[in-house]
């Protein structure tokens, strides 16, 4: 647990970067500091490893005032990842990752073995170990940065906009990787970003800060989306708060019909019971069918893009042509054991039948979620008794 007690930072030129900050960063969870540029996120983060010392107030690490800890010793127990990765250009990747173990006096062999293990952990090909940082892509460098921060297994990890310099596709995969790692490692993570979507995706707790270094609101993401404390937070959260909130409602509560159809429509399955599409009962539908248009990226046939479970083998290429020839209509699937209500709603909106197809972890048909079932779940989710 990291505790900020009345922490204020005033720089030499009079700038108040952080103003009377009081908050707690729970152990083993991700706490995100989010806010507009210059609101004091980096300053707050750097006070945790004493790269900056507060002007007033104090910071406790598991109850101990960090001013009593020698900075280098404190820092070796706190991983730190920044936007530019900050890798040492003159050291090979493996030695970059082994930095803190070396500092802690591990022998070279053990430190390197640990570094290799971590490279695998963060999804880096160990063939890259003997390269220098300039020979890696930005996304790879960022993974090295994460591996390096984790090398000595510190309980605390500080991350300052670690993913903001890479393209959106790489960013998404790095975020997913972080969530996967965190599920395994359960570090105490303080993550700084100015991207509210990233904050909501990654944070167990999100602290919204405003310029002048003041805390505007700290809450878990669903609460933040549902009940912004004031106009500033509401504005910062942006549009579609209602829909985005549904990402935090599990789809598990939805009622599923086990029949393979509803009046007017039936689901066509392949030999493995994976859905191929919807067929209008009573012959080919009169309305334009989705397969006449040229296939484009993000085609509904490939399943829901957000939060949804894609079928293991989406009917692509040849299968798509066959599906089209058979007069099948687009569909969306939802895995009730893992997906959110938002994914279920999305899956239903993708299909002309208006229903989502429920599937298991392997993408096999388990039933149909009707509009009525969705309505009932939405009513429960947005109702006053929402839990």
């Amino acid at each position: 647990m990291i505790t900020f007690e009345g922490v204020t930072k005033r720089f030499g030129d009079g700038t108040v970067a952080v103003d009377n900050l009081n908050l707690q960063v729970p152990t083993g969870a991700v706490t995100v500091f989010v806010g507009p540029s210059g609101c004091g996120k980096t300053t707050s983060l750097r006070m945790i490893n004493r790269m900056i010392d507060p002007t007033e107030g104090r910071i406790l690490l598991d109850g101990e005032d960090i001013r009593k800890i020698d900075p280098p010793a404190l820092r070796r127990g706190i991983g730190y990842v920044i936007q530019a990765a900050g890798l040492f250009p003159h050291r090979k990747i493996v030695d970059n990752v082994a930095t803190v173990p070396y500092l802690l006096g591990w022998d070279k062999k053990k430190a390197r073995a640990r570094a290799m293990e971590l490279m695998e952990r963060v999804g880096l090909d160990t063939k890259l170990a003997e390269r220098y940082p300039f020979q890696l892509s930005g996304g790879q460098q960022q993974r090295v940065g994460v591996a390096r921060a984790l090398a000595a297994d510190p309980p605390v990890l500080l991350m300052d906009e670690p993913f903001s310099a890479v393209d959106p596709v790489v960013r998404t995969s790095l975020q997913d990787e972080l969530l996967r790692l965190q599920a395994e490692l359960q570090k105490t993570i303080v993550f700084v970003t100015h991207d509210i979507d990233e904050a909501i995706k990654l944070g167990d707790t999100v602290a919204v800060m405003r310029v002048g270094g003041r805390l505007a609101q700290i809450d878990d993401p669903p609460t933040l989306l549902a009940e912004p404390a004031d106009d500033f937070v509401e504005g910062f959260l942006g549009k579609d708060r209602g829909i985005r909130r549904l990402s935090f409602v599990p789809a598990g509560g939805l009622a599923v019909r086990s029949e393979q159809g509803i009046p007017g429509w039936s689901v066509v399955l392949d030999d493995d019971r994976r859905p191929l599409g919807w067929r209008a009962e009573g012959g080919r539908p009169s309305e334009g069918n989705g397969y006449d248009s040229p296939a484009k990226e993000g085609d509904p046939l490939e399943g829901p893009v957000l939060n949804g479970t894609r079928p293991e083998r989406p009917p692509a290429g040849e299968a798509r042509t066959r599906a089209a020839a058979a007069g099948l209509q687009p569909f969306g699937t939802v895995d009730l054991n893992k997906d959110s209500l938002r994914a279920a709603l999305d899956a239903a909106l993708l299909a002309p039948s208006g229903c989502a197809i429920a599937v298991d972890g392997e993408g096999r048909f388990t039933g149909i979620v009707t509009r009525e079932a969705l309505d009932a779940a939405l009513a429960r989710a947005t109702g006053p008794a929402d839990g």
Partner: protein
């Protein structure tokens, strides 16, 4: 120069080769020693100037003044102290010339360490001394080596001036040839000085390749 005299008299070279060799060794010693001494002094001074920026401007200005002094004048001033035709009379001023190149090189080299790299070193838990030795100095090496190349080549060429006070390594050949209106020693001197400079520079480039394989991107970019 006599009309019948060829441009190069190979027999003269053959006869005087042992002497030429002696001059060559003398030249190398008087050229390289100032650079090594210069590096030895420039490192702490450069570190201090990088650490306390206020020192930087005065140090560099002073070094530029030193650099602008005519070498011959400095040699002559030093003669009463170190003696005529003494190696030290040449080595001392050349050391200052090297310093004038190397101090800025060390400061610029340390300045070439990206801020995010030194900050992440701090955040990883490097102490100040360790950071200097394991992070800042190694990253400064390419810039320092570039300065070293300039200092070495100019030192090799400047040694010759010492011939005017009786100790100039291969420079003696210029004076000798000029006094006797005899072109062979002059040409031999020029060729050897150039070969020496090219060789020393090549060695430093090789050292740079070997010491800093990681800097290749920056070099070719």
């Amino acid at each position: 120069m006599g009309d019948a005299e060829p441009l190069v008299r190979w027999d003269w070279i053959g006869r005087n080769w042992p002497d030429i060799q002696g001059l060559l060794v003398d030249h190398v010693i008087m050229a390289i020693l100032p650079v090594l001494l210069g590096l030895l002094v420039a490192l702490p001074l450069g570190l201090a100037s990088a650490r306390w920026r206020v020192l930087y401007q005065p140090t560099v200005s002073l070094m530029n003044v030193v650099y602008s002094l005519p070498s011959l004048a400095v040699f002559i001033v030093l003669i009463p102290l170190t003696g005529l035709a003494n190696r030290a009379t040449v080595i001392i001023p050349l050391t200052f010339y090297s310093l004038a190149v190397l101090i800025p090189a060390v400061v610029d080299g340390l300045g070439s360490v990206p801020a995010h790299v030194s900050q992440s070193a701090v955040a990883m838990g490097f102490g100040p001394m360790r950071r200097l030795i394991q992070v800042d100095l190694p990253i400064a090496v390419p810039v320092v080596l570039a300065g070293l190349r300039v200092a070495t080549v100019s030192s090799i060429s400047l040694v010759s001036v010492g011939a005017l006070i009786g100790r100039g390594g291969l420079g003696y050949l210029f004076i000798d040839g000029w006094q006797r209106q005899f072109s062979t020693p002059i040409l031999v001197g020029i060729v050897l000085v150039v070969v020496l400079a090219v060789l020393a520079d090549g060695l430093l480039v090789l050292a740079q390749r070997l010491l800093t394989p990681w800097a290749r991107a920056r070099r070719t970019a």
